[in-house]
Amino acid sequence: MSEFSLQQALNLALRHACEDDDRVLIFGEDVGRLGGVFRVTDGLQAKFGEQRVFDTPLAESGIMGMAVGLAMAGWRPVPEIQFDGFSYPAVDQIVNQVARMHYRSRGTLPMPITLRLPSFGGIRAPEHHSESMEALFAHVPGLKVVSPSSPAEGYHLLRQSIADPDPVIFMEPKSRYWQRESFDPDAPAEQLPVGTSRIVRPGKHATLIAWGAMVSRCLQVAELAAEDGVELEVLDLRWLKPIDADGLAESVSRTRRAVVVHEAPLTAGLGAEVSTVVTERCFDTLRAPVQRVTGFDVPYPSGALEDEYLPSIDRILTAVQTTLEYRRG
C-alpha cells in the first residue's frame, strides 16, 4: 500500500498502460517535456521516449484529428486537452469523427481513444478552465464518459478506459488532483464493468448522487447530516455514459429519496437525465420528487465567486430537507 494523490495515481496508470501495451501513445500540449501543467504526465517522455509521449501544437482540433488517424492506423491514443474549456475547438473532431468512425466504417475502424480532460472548477482558475462538459459529451452517440472521484478510482478507471475498445472522455476533477489516498495499484482490483456506479457511503433516508469532485462534497454533507440523525447514502455515479440505471434504482428504491449534485448549470444538465432515470425506475417508491443541486445557468464565474456558484453544503442540505418534508397530495 502506498499513498497517492490523484495526479500521481493517473501518472502511474499512464505509465503502466504504456508498459503493458506498445500501442499506447500520449500526446497533447505540454505533456512531453514539461510533464503536463498538473504533472500528470511527469517523467513519461523520459521513460518512453519522444515517439510515444510528445508535445503537440496549440491546436485542439489537430490533437483530436491526429488521434483519429493514429487510431485508424492501429494505435491506442491517449490525448490530453489541457483544460475542459479548450475542448470546444475539438468538438467537430470528437463528435463527427471520433464518436462515429466505428459506426461509419461498419465496425472496421474502432476508435480506442481516451481523451484526458482536466475538468470542473474549484481551483480559482481563469475563464475557460472550470467547465463541466459531461452533458454535452454524454449526448453524443458513440462516446463513453467517465469521471473518477478519488486516486484509486482514477488509477483503475483510467486503465479501464485505455483498455476499452471505444472512445472514452475521461474527465479529471482538477480540484481533487492533490488529495491523497492509500491503495495498492498492483493488487487485483474488482473489475467493475463500464457503466457501473458505486456506493461510497451507505445510508437509508436519501441518496445523494454525484460524480467527480462533488462526491467528496456529498460525503461531507452525509457526515454533517448524521449529526442530525439523518443517514444519507452517497452514490458515486462514475460513468456518465452509459448511466448505471440499475445501480441508481437499487439505491433509491431503498432510500426512497434522491438528490443529484453537479457543478454544471441546471438546464439540460446531466442531473435532468439522472432524475428521469430514477423517476422512471422508482416512481412508485419515491417519497418526494428528485431534487437537483447544481451550478447556475450562467457562464462559470471568476474565482472570487466560484464558492457561490458551486453546490455548497447548505444548498445540498436544503435540498435533502425538501425531500424529507415533502408530502403527497
Binding site: 494523490s5 495526479q7 500521481q8 504533472r39 453544503i313 442540505l317 435533502v320 424529507l324
Partner: protein, 107 residues
C-alpha cells in the same frame, strides 16, 4: 516533492537565444514568484527575467557568460507536489461548516 524545469522564455523580437550575464539567485535559494532570477543579454539589450513561480532552486543549467537558446533549460526548482500545478491554486482543505439543520419527518 516534484521538480519543475523552467526553460529560457521567448524574449520576443525574433531573438532565438541569450547570454547569461549574472545569476541573481543561487542553488539552494528559495525564491518567490516574480523575484528577479537572472540577467541575460540578447543582441538587443540586457534584461532581468522574473521567476515564473516560487520554489527552491535546485539547479542552474548555465553559468555566467554562457549562451543558451530559447527553450533550453534555464533553471530547475523543487516544489511541493501540491504546488506543481501551473494554473489556478490548490484548494484549501477546511473543516466543513453549515447553517442548515435537518429534521426527519414524524413517520
Amino acid at each position: 516533492m516534484a521538480e519543475v524545469t523552467v526553460p529560457l522564455p521567448d524574449l520576443g523580437e525574433g531573438l532565438i537565444g541569450a547570454k547569461v550575464l549574472e545569476w541573481l539567485v543561487a542553488e539552494g535559494d528559495w525564491v518567490e514568484r516574480n523575484t528577479p532570477l537572472v540577467e541575460v543579454e540578447t543582441t538587443k539589450s540586457a534584461v532581468e527575467l522574473p521567476s515564473p513561480q516560487s520554489g527552491r532552486v535546485t539547479r542552474l543549467h548555465v553559468e555566467a557568460d554562457e549562451e543558451l537558446a530559447v527553450g533550453e533549460p534555464l533553471v530547475t526548482f523543487t516544489v511541493d507536489d501540491d504546488q506543481a500545478g501551473i494554473v489556478g491554486t490548490v484548494p484549501a482543505e477546511k473543516k466543513p461548516s453549515r447553517r442548515v439543520r435537518l429534521s426527519l419527518p414524524e413517520d
